[in-house]
Symmetry: C2
Subunit: 160 residues, 2 copies
DNA sequence: TTGCTGTTGATATGATATAACAACCGATAT
DNA sequence: ATATCGGTTGTTATATCATATCAACAGCAA
């Protein structure tokens, strides 16, 4: 067990499960889960944090898997486009989806001390926003929520 | 009257009022509302849309007001830092605050047809998110909400 | 005067992201 | 077998967004 993100978990299993879930979804939907795409997702799952595209690219490069920016961005486009990873706009960074397979509308909790990112549900907030804007005529299709704050780990560290 | 954003309004007056409100706040808080900063805010108010930093810089350049990126970014940092303008992360762009002076927690409504941006209150959504994450131990300091969708104007145009 | 703080000017560089086009590969139609 | 078509990959080049750094200067206070 390792402590990454906001809670302890079996990280090895979480990587395996993440890959397996995406593999299954791709098979079901006729999507090509190519070695590059698989490797990028694997990297994101292993690191378990938001990573810049160039940071990912460096890893690919080290493995001889394509050295140019488009390689990383294409794989990320695929992963993000299909909900297997998310882009954190605030950080210009990407993170593996914590609930692959499950249809969900994530909000992100970003720790401003350690930059760790957790996924939360945005369902309630989306409902609230929908009500807030109901009289403007604006029709919400998708919502990006990124909350900045202090994660439990860093809050504990501060209190020390 | 012109139609900009989601509703008709007296745009000339809205620029005047915006500048006046910021001027007053700066005087009150001892902030230096320098010509550069003023001009950048004025540009944002005039255009009344989200603008990239380099787009603003081009305008400054044309007026002989400093031609290097830091000029624009410094002014924008000041404006954003003091709540006189907002950064739209999704667009890597900046927009004048629609309610300068008023303390508020804006959410942004971004039209995916015309890229226009409106401000809405995020109060209800913030409350909802706070409840959603209450059991995680994450403490939310600030929240970024950017909703993508269709603005009333474009919805009307589509229906045609 | 000196020193301090905040702003501006300018050069350079870093970081993030995409355009464009050729090559390839597997599936399928002829 | 071979043409061709969609999707993926390889590669070069470039576009776009943002900051580090340091010198100059202006206002103000000790």
């Amino acid at each position: 067990m390792e402590t990454i993100g906001f809670s302890k978990h079996d990280h090895h299993a979480c990587i395996e499960e993440g890959l397996a879930a995406v593999e299954a979804t791709c098979r079901r939907d006729g999507l090509q889960f190519t070695p590059q795409r698989r490797r990028v997702l694997e990297i994101l799952l292993q690191e378990h944090r938001a990573m810049g595209a160039y940071e990912i690219l460096d890893k690919l490069r080290a493995e001889g898997m394509g050295a140019q920016p488009p390689v990383a961005y294409r794989a990320l486009d695929f992963l993000v486009g299909n909900g297997f990873a998310h882009k954190i706009e605030r950080l210009n960074a990407f993170i593996a989806c914590a609930h692959p397979g499950a249809r969900h509308k994530p909000a992100f909790l970003i720790c401003r001390k350690c930059d760790s990112v957790a996924e939360a549900s945005s369902d309630a907030a989306l409902k609230a926003m929908t009500e807030t804007v109901s009289d403007t005529g604006f029709q919400i299709d998708r919502m990006m929520i990124e909350a900045l704050g202090i994660c439990p780990n860093c809050a504990g560290a501060e209190a020390t």
